[in-house]
Amino acid sequence: MKKKLHKNTFKTVVTLAFIPICALCLIPLWTLIVASFSTDSDITKYGYLLWPKTFTLEGYSYIFAKPMQILRAYGVTIFVTVVGTVIGVVVMGMFAYTTARRSFRLSKFLGYYAFLTMLFSGGVVPYYIMMTQYLHLKNSVWALILPNLVGPFYIMILRTYYRSLPEGLYEAAKLDGAGEMYIFFKIALPLSVPAIATVALFSMLGFWNDMYQALLFVENQDLYPLQYLLYRITYETGIIQEGAQTVGRTVPYQSVRMAMAMLAMLPIMFSFLFVQKYFVKGITLGGMKGD
């Protein structure tokens, strides 16, 4: 009886100990939310607080008075994310499937071919020169999509999954006269929806949060994706100044910046609630040791 009580105390302590830890996890985010609803002068005067001194929507209203900039960035990000994820998932799915088919002569080779890219890379410079001098992708939206289409790690996840499906399934379909493409799209793909969904989510998150490609290859302001726009306005307030004349007052830089950050994060925060359980499933899938 005593032992049992002792054990329960331990569990209660553990349960309670997580509350401050979780709070610490969320405080940074809270600070941003508060700042986005604070007046510019308050941020300058009192700094970042846990509760706004004067609640205001000036940051948001400033953005919505001339929303072209953020809408455009949203457009770029959405285009990149959607197109990149859809093409990427199909390409990776097909590739992983061929590496998982044991009867296919090249399956082993292709597996190593993808794996090797995780071990070695040529570095940024050859990559940069190739993208700009040979592929001429500077200031092209495709520079934000193509390099991130295929992730070797995702291929490994999909490969492990396709391997776990019985080989006899493919053979049987083949005996019935089905072509490989048919087998993949009509049999393997529907069966691998959980793995595909996970890879799609990961890749979406990757595209949405990426700013590295834009930093290297995009100079044209019209092509700024959200994250890169946020990055630029940290250092160059001039970029947000454009709307000043139309609104006819000084720019509340700090509030605008924070409000923009919130607007950029909104879809992520919102979708997190719905998709995080699929992520959890997927991570579990990918974290397991494959071959």
Partner: protein, 306 residues
């Protein structure tokens, strides 16, 4: 009858070749072609002559890099910080998973897990925003707090010595939830009979963790350590550039290979040294991971990753 004639099999496989092709090409163009570009590390590149036409300069680029005075600092920061991130990341991930597993109410555990996982979804740009909100010397949240409890404010972005700790905390904060999910799944998969057997033998909680949970988690930990080791010479550019705000005063402890390379590429337009650094990075990483794998294969075959 099960064996199809070779010719027929090949014919049927045409579809497989076609399906592998797009992925093959993307990897070839964006991963393998730059690998051939490593010859740039031994050349003096100029735009008009291109990669193949530019003159060879032997190891000059490497000599230049190692004599520049920043080489040691860059390597130390990159490897050192990555090791810190790896050790504390895995440690906190495992710890969080073990404790999450102890929580009775599964709904509560799920909620905690979600909250821990949330930072993984936030972009580094935004992480940079609130790092600034917390640490900015003027009106940062932390300095406001120090002021309230009567302490002197600190100019955080001017104190190089505290940044390894700050970077590690941020890295753990962002990655802990992710790793805890992997490890929690590992723990849940352990057959309860092992714990019962241990308990019958008089094992206490800490014994259970030490002799049952951790040994079962070892292969998973190995995989993650391996993935981290393979990247130990590569710093996460987005992380470093946003969180440190490229602040000159803290570069002593936060300037890493990747930020240096991108800086020399985009600001100074120095292709040669950057190419040499890139190759150095790639080769070191490759050697490291192959050695590690060899050692693991030799001493503990079961945990070997490949």
């Amino acid at each position: 009858m099960r064996k199809t004639p070779l010719l027929k099999r090949r014919e049927n496989n045409l579809g497989l070749y076609l399906m592998a092709l797009p992925g093959f090409l993307v990897l070839f163009i964006f991963c393998y072609c730059p690998m051939f570009g490593i010859i740039l590390a031994f050349k003096d590149y100029n735009f008009s002559d291109g990669i193949l036409g530019s003159p060879w300069v032997g190891f000059d680029n490497f000599v230049f890099f190692f004599q520049s005075g920043v080489a040691w600092r860059l390597i130390r920061n990159t490897v050192g910080l990555n090791l810190l991130f790896m050790v504390f990341g895995q440690l906190m991930g495992v710890t969080a998973a073990i404790f999450l597993n102890e929580i009775f109410e599964k709904r509560v555990a799920k909620a905690y897990q979600s909250i821990l996982f949330f930072p993984h979804f936030i972009s580094w740009v935004i992480v940079g925003y609130f790092t600034f909100a917390l640490f900015n010397g003027d009106k940062g949240l932390l300095n406001n707090f120090l002021h309230v409890i009567g302490m002197e404010p600190v100019n955080w972005y001017g104190e190089a010595s505290v940044w390894p700790a700050i970077m590690t905390i941020i890295s753990v904060w962002k990655g802990c939830g992710y790793f805890s999910i992997i490890y929690l799944a590992g723990i849940v998969g352990i057959n309860p009979e092992y714990y019962e057997a241990a308990r019958i033998d008089g094992a206490k909680k800490r014994h259970e963790i030490r002799y049952v949970t951790l040994p079962f988690l070892k292969p998973l930990i190995m995989v993650n350590v391996f993935l981290a080791l393979g990247r130990v010479f590569y710093a996460n550019f987005d992380f470093f550039v946003n969180v440190t705000r490229s602040s000159g005063q803290i570069m002593e402890t936060t300037d890493v290979v990747d930020t240096f390379v991108v800086r020399s590429l985009t600001v100074m337009g120095d292709f040669n040294m950057s190419a040499a650094v890139g190759l150095f990075q790639g080769v070191c990483g490759l050697i490291l991971i192959l050695t590690a794998n060899m050692l693991v294969n030799k001493f503990d075959k079961e945990s070997a990753v490949f």
